[in-house]
C-alpha cells in the first residue's frame, strides 16, 4: 500500500550494523512469517521472542525441565507455534501467544536442526536432523518418530524402505555425518541432502524416495534450504560451494506430478537410474557460489525474503563476515562485523535486514545505511541525478501586474473517491484463511514509585532555571524550563526566582505581557508569533487565563 510512496530505487540489502540485541548467550534465531517477531534460543535453555519493531522483549519461554543449550528454533507457518530443539536431545513445542508448552519429546540423539511442517496451520509434525543419524519425522500427536531414508543402495531394484517406528535405522554409509533436510514449501515433501552428495526427494508419509539429484562434486551436503517462494533450493556442501537449484516442480499437487514423472520415464530404466531421471526433472543446477580466494566454508546460508539475494556466513573462527550474492551469481557485498565467529544468520522476510548471531551470544542487526531523503521534506522538490540545463521561458521574468496569479482549481472534485477498499497485501501468501499471529500484545511495565520520584528529581536538576532545586517544596515539580531555543526563554527564566512566588509572578507577567502565547489547554488557540510558552504549573492557572483572554 505504501509501495508507491516509498522510493523503490534504494538497494535491497543491508550495509551496516544498526543495533544489537542481548539476552544471555543466544545460539540461534528465527523470524516469523512476517518478520515482526524474532525468536532466539539461548545457551541456558530458555527462548526469548523479540518484538522486532520496538526491539523490545515480547515474551520469554522458559522450561524448567530443559537447561541445555538450544540448537534451533522454528516457527509454524502462521506464527502460533514455536519448535525448539535442545542439546539434551529434546524437542519442545510451544504455544506462542500463551507461552505454554504444548508437547515435549526426547529423541535418541541431539537434534541439530528441527523444522515445523510449513504446510500445516497448527503443525504437530516436524522434521528433526540429529547429529549422527538420519533425519526423522516426529509427530507430536501420535508420539512417534519416523526415520527417513538417507541412501539409496545401488543394487536394490526397488526403492528402499526404511524401518519405522522408533527403531534405529540400519542403513549403509558412514554413521557420523549428519544429513541435512528440509521441507518443501507446502510441506508434502522432504528434501534430504546426504553425505554422498546427493539430494533425495522423499515423500515422508509413505517413506519413499521419489527422486534423486546428484550434487556435482559429490561432497557431503551440510545445509539444504528452500527460498520463501519455494522456487529455489540452496545446498551448502563440504567442498565449500553453495549451489542454487531451480525447483521445477509445481507448487501444488507435488506428489501427483512426481508420480507422473515417474511413469513418464523410459521403461527400461529402473531403480536408482529411474530416480535420477525423475530427479533431473525436479531440480536443475542454477548457480554456484564460492570464494575462490579464501576457499572458506560457509555457515548458515539462506535466501533473502524475496529470493533475490543469497547470503552466507563465513565459517572461519575469529571473523564475522557475511557474503551477499545476487541470484545471478555476483558477489555484491561482504559485511564485516566485530571479530567474533558467526554461528547463525537470518534474513528478514520483508525488509532488507539481516540478523546474525555471534559466538559471544549477541544478535547483530544489519540494516541499510539510510541517507535522508531530503526531497521528502519539501513537497515539490525533485531530486535530479545530474545537472540539467534550465532554459527559461521568454516571459518568465516579466512583471505582469494585471494578471494576478489566479490559479484555477483544476481539481475535479466530483470524482468518486474510495476510502475503504484495501489492496491485497503483497506479502500474504495465497490462502490466508487462518488468522496469522503477527504481534504479541504489549504489556506496559508499570512504573514503580521509586522510578517516578527519581525521574522527577532528574528533571528538576536538568531544568535550566536556577531556582529549580526548590521546586520540590511544593510537593510536585514545577517545571519552568522553557524550550532552549528562542529569545524569550532567558528573560522568563530570570524572572522566576522562587517557586513560591511563581504563581504571582506569572499573573503579573501575563498582565504586562502583550504577547499571546498558545499555552492554554482549553482553547487550543494558535500560537501567534512567539513560540516560547510559559509552562503551566497547576490547575488554578486556568482561572487566570479567563482574565487574560
Amino acid at each position: 500500500m505504501n509501495a508507491p510512496i516509498i522510493d523503490p530505487l534504494q538497494g535491497d540489502f543491508p550495509e551496516v550494523i544498526e543495533e544489537y540485541l542481548e539476552h544471555g548467550v543466544i545460539k540461534c534465531v528465527a523470524f516469523n512469517h512476517r518478520g515482526s517477531l524474532l525468536a532466539a534460543g539461548c545457551a541456558d535453555g530458555s527462548c526469548v521472542i523479540w518484538d522486532f519493531e520496538t526491539r523490545g522483549i515480547a515474551k520469554e519461554l522458559r522450561d524448567n525441565d530443559c537447561a541445555a543449550a538450544i540448537t534451533s528454533v522454528s516457527w509454524s507457518k502462521y506464527g502460533h507455534r514455536l519448535l525448539v530443539s535442545a542439546a539434551d536431545k529434546s524437542l519442545t513445542l510451544w504455544d506462542v501467544s500463551t507461552g505454554e508448552k504444548i508437547a515435549r519429546t526426547t529423541l535418541q540423539q541431539t537434534p541439530l536442526h528441527a523444522r515445523l511442517n510449513p504446510g500445516l496451520t497448527s503443525p504437530s509434525l516436524c522434521l528433526a536432523c540429529p547429529l549422527s543419524s538420519a533425519p526423522m519425522i516426529v509427530d507430536f500427536e501420535i508420539g512417534c518418530t519416523t526415520l527417513l531414508p538417507v541412501y539409496v543402495p545401488e543394487m536394490m531394484p526397488d526403492v528402499l524402505l526404511a524401518p519405522q517406528q522408533r527403531s534405529k535405522c540400519s542403513e549403509s554409509g558412514p554413521p557420523f555425518s549428519p544429513a541435512a533436510a528440509c521441507f518443501n514449501k507446502c510441506g508434502d515433501l522432504v528434501y534430504v541432502g546426504n553425505a554422498k552428495g546427493e539430494i533425495l526427494i522423499v515423500d515422508y508419509k509413505s517413506v519413499k524416495v521419489l527422486a534423486l539429484v546428484p550434487v556435482s562434486g559429490g561432497s557431503a551436503v551440510k545445509n539444504i534450504v528452500f527460498s520463501r517462494n519455494g522456487k529455489y533450493l540452496l545446498t551448502n556442501s563440504h567442498d565449500r560451494i553453495i549451489r542454487i537449484y531451480e525447483n521445477l516442480l509445481p507448487a501444488k499437487d507435488v506428489l501427483r506430478s512426481l508420480e507422473d514423472l515417474g511413469k513418464n520415464v523410459d521403461g527400461g530404466v529402473d531403480g536408482v537410474e529411474k530416480l535420477k531421471a525423475v530427479g533431473s526433472k525436479c531440480l536443475t543446477l542454477f548457480r554456484e557460489f564460492q570464494d575462490l580466494v579464501t576457499k572458506m566454508h560457509w555457515k548458515a546460508p539462506c535466501f533473502s525474503g524475496d529470493g533475490e539475494w543469497v547470503v552466507g556466513g563465513s565459517a572461519c573462527k575469529g571473523e564475522h563476515k557475511i557474503y551477499i550474492w545476487d541470484r545471478a551469481g555476483h558477489l555484491v557485498k561482504i559485511l564485516e562485523g566485530p571479530k567474533e565467529a558467526l554461528i547463525d544468520l537470518a534474513w528478514h522476510p520483508v525488509h532488507p535486514v539481516i540478523v546474525s548471531v555471534s559466538l559471544t551470544g549477541l544478535v547483530y542487526i544489519w540494516a541499510k545505511d539510510y541517507t535522508e531523503n531530503w526531497s521528502a521534506f519539501a513537497p515539490d522538490f525533485k531530486e535530479l541525478e545530474e545537472n540539467e540545463e534550465y532554459v527559461e521561458r521568454e516571459d518568465e521574468f516579466d512583471l505582469m501586474p494585471e494578471t494576478g496569479k489566479v490559479k484555477v482549481s483544476s481539481v475535479n472534485e466530483d470524482e468518486e473517491v474510495d476510502i475503504e477498499t484495501v489492496e491485497k497485501d503483497a506479502f500474504s501468501d495465497s490462502d490466508m484463511s487462518v488468522e496469522e499471529l503477527r504481534y504479541l500484545p504489549a504489556e506496559p511495565i508499570p512504573d514503580t514509585n521509586e522510578e517516578q520520584d527519581e525521574l522527577k528529581l532528574i528533571e528538576a536538576r536538568i531544568s535550566a532555571s536556577p531556582a529549580s532545586e526548590e521546586a520540590g517544596q511544593n510537593g510536585h515539580v514545577a517545571d519552568h524550563t522553557p524550550s532552549p531555543l528562542g529569545e524569550m526563554g532567558e528573560t522568563r527564566g530570570k524572572r522566576k526566582r522562587k517557586p513560591s512566588e511563581k504563581a504571582m509572578e506569572l499573573q503579573a507577567e501575563k498582565a504586562k505581557s502583550s504577547k499571546a502565547s498558545g499555552r492554554t489547554v482549553r482553547e487550543k488557540s494558535r500560537a501567534v508569533g512567539d513560540q516560547e510558552i510559559v509552562d503551566s504549573v497547576n490547575g488554578d492557572d486556568e482561572d487566570d487565563v479567563d482574565a487574560y483572554y
Partner: protein
C-alpha cells in the same frame, strides 16, 4: 434539536438526533474517542481528568452512555486521549509535558512517558498497540514503546506545534500536521520522512489530520474554515468541504463509514457538521452545544456520533429509531 439541510438526494438520509448530554467535566472537553470495539467512549478535558463511559446499544429507552471510570493523575489539562486496539489501555497527552498510559478497566495509571519539552498535544496508538506516537508543542513527534515506556524515536517533524498524529491501517506510516501548514508522512519503522503535503499558495495552519480507513487518503483540517481530502501518492487534494467555521481552534473531524461514506466535523459555530464524502453536500448540522465543538468521534459499528465542546459537555447523537 437537529436541523436538516434540505438536499435533493437526501431522501434516503435518516437524520441524527440528539440522544444524550453528559456533563461530568469541570472544564472544556478537548477530545472524545470511541474504543475500537465500540464498547467505551473516552473524553479528555482541561480539568486534568479523563473519563470513560460504557456504551449501550441505542434502544431508544436507556441512556446510551453510562459513566465508567475517572482517570486522574495529570498535573495539567489534557489535550488528547486514545484507546489501544484491544481497548485495554488508554494513552493521554497533557500540558504537563507527559503522556500517561492507563488501564482502561480499572482506571489506574500504569506508566508515564517523559521526554517532550513542551505541551503534548496529540497521541495515538498504532494498530498493533505496541507503540504510541505523540505530537507536541516542542515541534517534534515522538514514538514510544508501550512495554518499556522508552522513547524509540524523535522525529524532527515540523517548525511549529504539531497538532495531530495518526497511524495508517497497518501501522507502517505516521502522518503529522502542524501550524506550519505542512502535513508530513513518516515511515514508522525507520522514522524517516516519506512525503510532505502542502497547499501551495495559501499555506494555512493545519489543525487536524487523519488517515482514511484504507490509508490512501488523508483528511486535513486547516484554519481557513476548510476540510480537504488529499490523495497521498499524488500529493493533491481531491475533495473540499466547507460551510463550517474553523479558524482558531484545533477542531477534529472523522470519517463515518457505518452508514454511507461521510465526513463529520466539529465547528466553532457550535454545531457538528456532516457532509457526504463524494458529493461534498452538507447533509446535516447538529445543533445543541453552546460553545465551539472541539472534537467529534464516530462509533465503529453503530450509527452514533459523540461530540465534545468547550461548554464542558459531551453530546451523543444517534439516528432516530
Amino acid at each position: 434539536m437537529a436541523e436538516e439541510v434540505p438536499a435533493a438526494a437526501a431522501s434516503s438520509y435518516i437524520p441524527y438526533v440528539h440522544s444524550q448530554t453528559l456533563t461530568p467535566h469541570a472544564h472544556a472537553v478537548s477530545s472524545v474517542k470511541f474504543s475500537p470495539d465500540g464498547r467505551l467512549l473516552a473524553s479528555a478535558s482541561g480539568d486534568q481528568t479523563i473519563r470513560t463511559y460504557s456504551i449501550n446499544p441505542n434502544d431508544g429507552v436507556n441512556p446510551i452512555a453510562e459513566p465508567a471510570q475517572v482517570f486522574s493523575g495529570h498535573d495539567s489539562g489534557i489535550s488528547d486521549v486514545a484507546f489501544s486496539s484491544d481497548a485495554r489501555f488508554i494513552v493521554s497527552a497533557s500540558d504537563d509535558k507527559t503522556l500517561k498510559l492507563w488501564d482502561a478497566e480499572t482506571g489506574s495509571p500504569i506508566k508515564t512517558l517523559r521526554g517532550h519539552t513542551n505541551y503534548v498535544f496529540c497521541a495515538t496508538f498504532n494498530p498493533q498497540s505496541n507503540m504510541v506516537a505523540s505530537g507536541s508543542f516542542d515541534e517534534t513527534v515522538r514514538i514510544w514503546d508501550v512495554t518499556t515506556g522508552k522513547c524509540l524515536k524523535v522525529l524532527p517533524a515540523h517548525s511549529d506545534p504539531v497538532t495531530a498524529v495518526d497511524f495508517n491501517r497497518d501501522g507502517s506510516l505516521i502522518v503529522s500536521s502542524s501550524y506550519d501548514g505542512l502535513c508530513r508522512v513518516w515511515d514508522s519503522g525507520t522514522g524517516h520522512c516519506v512525503k510532505t503535503l502542502m497547499d501551495d499558495e495559501k499555506n494555512p495552519p493545519v489543525s487536524f489530520v487523519r488517515f482514511s480507513p484504507n490509508g490512501k487518503f488523508i483528511l486535513v483540517g486547516t484554519l481557513d474554515n476548510t476540510l480537504r481530502l488529499w490523495n497521498i501518492s499524488s500529493a493533491k487534494y481531491i475533495k473540499t468541504y466547507s460551510g463550517h467555521a474553523n479558524s482558531q481552534y484545533s477542531v477534529s473531524s472523522a470519517f463515518s463509514v457505518t452508514n454511507g461514506k461521510r465526513i463529520v466535523s466539529g465547528s466553532e459555530d457550535k454545531c457538528v457538521y456532516m457532509w457526504e464524502l463524494n458529493s461534498r453536500k452538507l447533509l446535516q448540522k447538529l445543533e445543541g452545544h453552546t460553545e465551539p465543538v472541539m472534537s467529534v468521534a464516530c462509533h465503529p459499528t453503530e450509527n452514533m456520533i459523540a461530540s465534545g465542546s468547550l461548554d464542558k459537555s459531551i453530546r451523543i447523537w444517534a439516528q432516530k429509531k
